[in-house]
C-alpha cells in the first residue's frame, strides 16, 4: 500500500509529524553547531582580549615583534605572552576596505545604470554574463594577477627611486602596497555590487519610468530620480555584501598588500599610497604555523572574532535593508 495515501489516516498524520520532527531536529543541530562555532571562537579569543583590554585595538609597539614574542612564548600557559596591539592591522583593514568600497560603489552605480538603461542591446547581452563571471573568479587568481602585473607596475613605474630611498630605514617600497590592495580589491568587489545593483534597477516598475518620461523629464533624470531612488534598498544590500567580502578577504590581500604590519601614514603624502601594510584577515593566514602556542591561538582567534563580529554586523545591516525592498515586492 502506498504509504503516502491517507487511507491509512493515522499513519499519514504521524508521517508529517515525524518529518517535521526529523527535519526540525536536523535544523536545530546544524544551527546549534554553527552557533557553537561562533561561541567557541569568542571563547578562545577571550584570553587575548582579557590580557590587553581595549588596548588590543590600539596602537603600541611593533606588531611583528609582538607576534614573535607571542609565538615564542611556547606551550606553557604561565609563560605565555599576550601583549598585542592590533591598531596597524585594523587601520590597514579600514583603509583597504573603505577605499575599495567607496570607489567600487560610485563606479558600480554608474556602470549598473549604464547596463540597465543606456547600453546598446548587444553590449548589454555580453556584459551581464561577464559581470557574473567576474564576480565568481576565485580571489587567489585576482591575487596572482595582482602580484604579477599590478605590483611590479607600481613598483617599477610609479614609485621613484628617491621615494624608495627616503623610507629605506623603516620599510621597503616594493609595489606591494596600499594602492595595489585597494585597486585589486575594488576590481574584485565591483562585479558583486554591479550584479546586485542591476537586479535592483531592473525591478523598478516600468510604469513609474514611463510615467516620468511622459511628463517631459529626460531619460537620465528619470532614471536617476525615480529608478535609482526606488532601488535604494538594493544599493544598500549590494554595498553591504561587497563590503563583507572585502573585509574578509585574506588570500588576495596577503599577496599584494605588502605583508608588513605597518600603519600607512597619510601625512607621508604621495608615499602613503605606496606603503605596505597587512590587513587583519591576511595576518591570520601568515601566522598559522605557530598555532601550538596557546597565546598565539588566542591572538589569532581574537583577530578572527573581530572579523566575525564585523561581518555579522554587516550581514545584519544588509538584512535590515532588504525589508523595505520586500515591502515593495522586489525580493532578491
Amino acid at each position: 500500500m502506498d504509504e503516502d495515501d491517507l487511507l491509512g489516516r493515522d499513519r499519514g498524520i504521524s508521517q508529517d509529524q515525524r518529518a517535521e520532527l526529523g527535519l526540525g531536529a536536523l535544523v536545530f543541530v546544524v544551527v546549534g553547531l554553527l552557533l557553537a562555532m561562533f561561541a567557541f571562537v569568542l571563547h578562545e579569543a577571550w584570553a587575548s582580549f582579557a590580557h590587553n583590554g581595549l588596548g588590543w585595538f590600539g596602537p603600541g609597539g611593533s606588531v611583528d615583534q609582538q607576534i614573535q614574542a607571542i609565538a615564542n612564548s611556547g606551550q606553557l600557559k604561565e609563560a605565555a605572552i599576550y601583549t598585542f596591539h592590533a591598531w596597524p592591522l585594523i587601520w590597514s583593514t579600514i583603509l583597504t576596505t573603505a577605499g575599495a568600497m567607496v570607489i567600487a560603489f560610485v563606479a558600480s552605480l554608474f556602470i549598473a545604470v549604464f547596463i540597465v538603461e543606456f547600453a546598446p542591446q548587444g553590449l548589454r547581452r555580453i556584459l551581464e554574463p561577464v559581470v557574473r563571471l567576474l564576480a565568481s573568479v576565485p580571489s587567489v587568481i585576482y591575487g596572482l594577477a595582482g602580484v604579477l602585473v599590478i605590483v611590479p607596475f607600481i613598483g617599477n613605474h610609479l614609485i621613484t627611486q628617491s621615494e624608495k630611498a627616503s623610507v629605506t630605514p623603516i620599510i621597503q617600497l616594493s609595489g606591494a602596497s596600499l594602492l595595489a590592495a585597494v585597486l585589486i580589491l575594488t576590481v574584485m568587489i565591483a562585479p558583486i555590487m554591479i550584479a546586485v545593483f542591476v537586479d535592483g534597477l531592473r525591478a523598478v516598475p516600468r510604469g513609474w519610468l514611463e510615467g516620468s518620461l511622459a511628463l517631459g523629464i529626460n531619460q537620465w533624470r528619470t532614471f536617476w530620480k525615480v529608478g535609482v531612488r526606488t532601488a535604494r534598498p538594493a544599493l544598500v544590500a549590494g554595498t553591504v555584501l561587497a563590503t563583507a567580502r572585502a573585509l574578509g578577504e585574506a588570500i588576495m590581500l596577503s599577496m599584494v598588500s605588502g605583508g608588513v604590519p605597518f600603519a600607512p601614514n597619510p601625512i607621508d603624502g604621495l608615499i602613503f599610497f605606496f606603503e605596505p601594510s597587512q590587513p587583519l584577515a591576511a595576518t591570520i593566514i601568515r601566522n598559522t604555523e605557530a598555532l601550538n602556542s596557546p597565546a598565539m591561538k588566542a591572538t589569532l582567534y581574537a583577530i578572527a572574532a573581530v572579523l566575525l563580529f564585523s561581518t555579522a554586523m554587516l550581514s545584519f545591516i544588509g538584512w535590515a535593508a532588504k525589508q523595505p525592498m520586500r515591502r515593495y515586492g522586489m525580493v532578491t
Binding site: 495515501d5 491517507l6 499519514g12 508521517q15 518529518a19 517535521e20 527535519l23 526540525g24 536536523l26 535544523v27 554553527l34 552557533l35 562555532m37 567557541f40 571562537v41 556602470i111 545604470v113 549604464f114 547596463i115 543606456f118 547600453a119 553590449l123 556584459l127 561577464v130 559581470v131 567576474l134 565568481s136 573568479v137 576565485p138 580571489s139 587567489v140 587568481i141 591575487g143 596572482l144 594577477a145 602580484v147 604579477l148 602585473v149 576590481v187 554591479i194 517631459g216 529626460n218 537620465w220 555584501l241 567580502r245 574578509g248 585574506a250 588570500i251 599577496m255 605583508g259 584577515a281 593566514i285 598559522t288 598555532l291 582567534y301 572579523l307 566575525l308 561581518t311 550581514s315 544588509g318
Partner: protein, 319 residues
C-alpha cells in the same frame, strides 16, 4: 452662445533653455565613460588570463604530478591538485546539498517554532558573508581535537587535523548558504494552489514536498548546488589551512579510498597560491596554467547555471 475672446485661455509659462541640465549631461557622460571603461577592464582581464594560460598550459601538466625540485622543468604538472579540487568539491557538496535542501524544506514548509526559523535564517545569512579564514581557523582546532582524530592522521599522539575530510567538512559550510537560499526561493515561488491541490488529494505534507514540490523546484536545487560548488572550488583559505599542502596525495594508510581521504593533498587554489611569486614554489608559469584550468571550471559552473535558469524559465508555467 457667446464667443470668448482668444485671451481667455490659461497663460503658459515660457520654456527656458534646454531640457538637459548640466548635471544631467555629466551624469550621462560618466555612465557611458565608466560603462565602457568597465568593458575595457573586463576584456583586459579575460584576454590576459587567456593569453597567459594558453602560453603556459601544456597537456602534460594535466597528467603529471607536482614534484619538489629546483628547476622548473622538473617540477611536474598539477594532476593531483586538479583531482583534489574535484574531490573536495564533490565531497563538500555531498554534505551541503542534502543538509541544505532539508533545511530549506523545513524553513519553507514547516518552520515552527518561529524562533528557530528566525534564528536559522539569521545564521544562514551570517554564514553567507563570513570570511572563510575564520572557518579555516576554527576547522584547524576542531579537527585537531582527539575526538575527531579518525578523520585525519595521528602521529605520536598528536592529531594532525589536516585532511580531505577536514577540508570538505568546513567547505560544506561555505556551500551551505547558497543551497539553502536558492532551494528556499524555488520552493516559495511555487504558488499555494499547487500545494492545496495535493493536500486535497489526501497527500501528506512531506509526500507533497517529495513528490510535487521538490521536483518542481529542481532548477533551484541545481542552481544552488552549482553556485555552492563554485564557491567551494574557489576557496583558498580553508584549503591552505586544512589540506596539509602536500604536493601530491599522501594517504594516511593503505586503505583504498578512506586512506586517501584521511590523508593530505592540495587543490588548484592552494597550488596557485603556492606557485605565485609570494609563495614558496614561485613558478608563475605553472600558476598561470593552473589558474586557466580553474577558470575553465568556474566558467563551466556559470554556464551550467545560466543554462538551467534559462531552461527553467521556458519550462515551468504556473497557471
Amino acid at each position: 452662445m457667446t464667443t470668448a475672446p482668444a485671451a481667455a485661455v490659461r497663460p503658459r509659462p515660457a520654456t527656458t533653455g534646454s531640457v538637459y541640465r548640466l548635471t544631467d549631461r555629466i551624469g550621462l557622460g560618466l555612465a557611458w565613460l565608466l560603462g565602457l571603461l568597465f568593458c575595457a577592464i573586463a576584456a583586459a582581464i579575460v584576454i590576459y588570463f587567456l593569453i597567459e594560460g594558453i602560453r603556459y598550459l601544456r597537456p602534460s601538466l594535466l597528467v603529471t604530478n607536482p614534484a619538489a625540485a629546483t628547476s622548473e622543468g622538473q617540477t611536474g604538472g598539477f594532476l593531483d591538485p586538479m583531482l583534489g579540487t574535484l574531490i573536495i568539491g564533490f565531497m563538500a557538496m555531498a554534505i551541503a546539498l542534502p543538509v541544505g535542501v532539508a533545511m530549506a524544506v523545513w524553513l519553507s514548509e514547516f518552520g515552527r517554532p518561529i524562533a528557530l526559523a528566525r534564528v536559522t535564517e539569521s545564521v544562514v545569512e551570517m554564514l553567507a558573508g563570513e570570511p572563510s579564514v575564520v572557518l579555516a581557523l576554527f576547522g584547524l582546532v576542531l579537527f585537531g581535537a582527539p575526538a575527531l582524530g579518525f578523520l585525519s592522521q595521528t602521529t605520536h599522539g598528536v592529531v594532525l587535523g589536516q585532511s580531505f575530510f577536514a577540508t570538505a567538512g568546513m567547505l560544506s559550510i561555505v556551500g551551505l548558504p547558497m543551497v539553502v537560499a536558492n532551494v528556499r526561493e524555488g520552493l516559495q515561488a511555487i504558488p499555494a494552489h499547487v500545494r492545496e491541490a495535493s493536500y486535497a488529494l489526501g497527500k501528506t505534507k512531506i509526500a507533497t514536498t517529495r513528490r510535487v514540490l521538490l521536483p518542481a523546484a529542481r532548477p533551484s536545487v541545481a542552481t544552488g548546488a552549482m553556485l555552492g560548488l563554485g564557491r567551494v572550488i574557489s576557496d583558498t583559505a580553508i584549503v591552505l589551512l586544512l589540506m596539509g599542502g602536500t604536493l601530491t596525495f599522501q594517504s594516511a594508510n593503505s586503505v583504498p579510498v578512506l586512506g586517501l581521504l584521511r590523508g593530505t593533498g592540495d587543490t588548484l587554489t592552494g597550488y596557485i597560491y603556492y606557485n605565485a611569486p609570494t609563495g614558496d614554489g614561485n613558478q608563475p608559469s605553472k600558476a598561470y596554467a593552473a589558474a586557466f584550468v580553474l577558470m575553465l571550471m568556474v566558467l563551466a559552473v556559470n554556464v551550467a547555471v545560466d543554462y538551467v535558469v534559462s531552461r527553467s524559465r521556458k519550462a515551468i508555467r504556473w497557471s
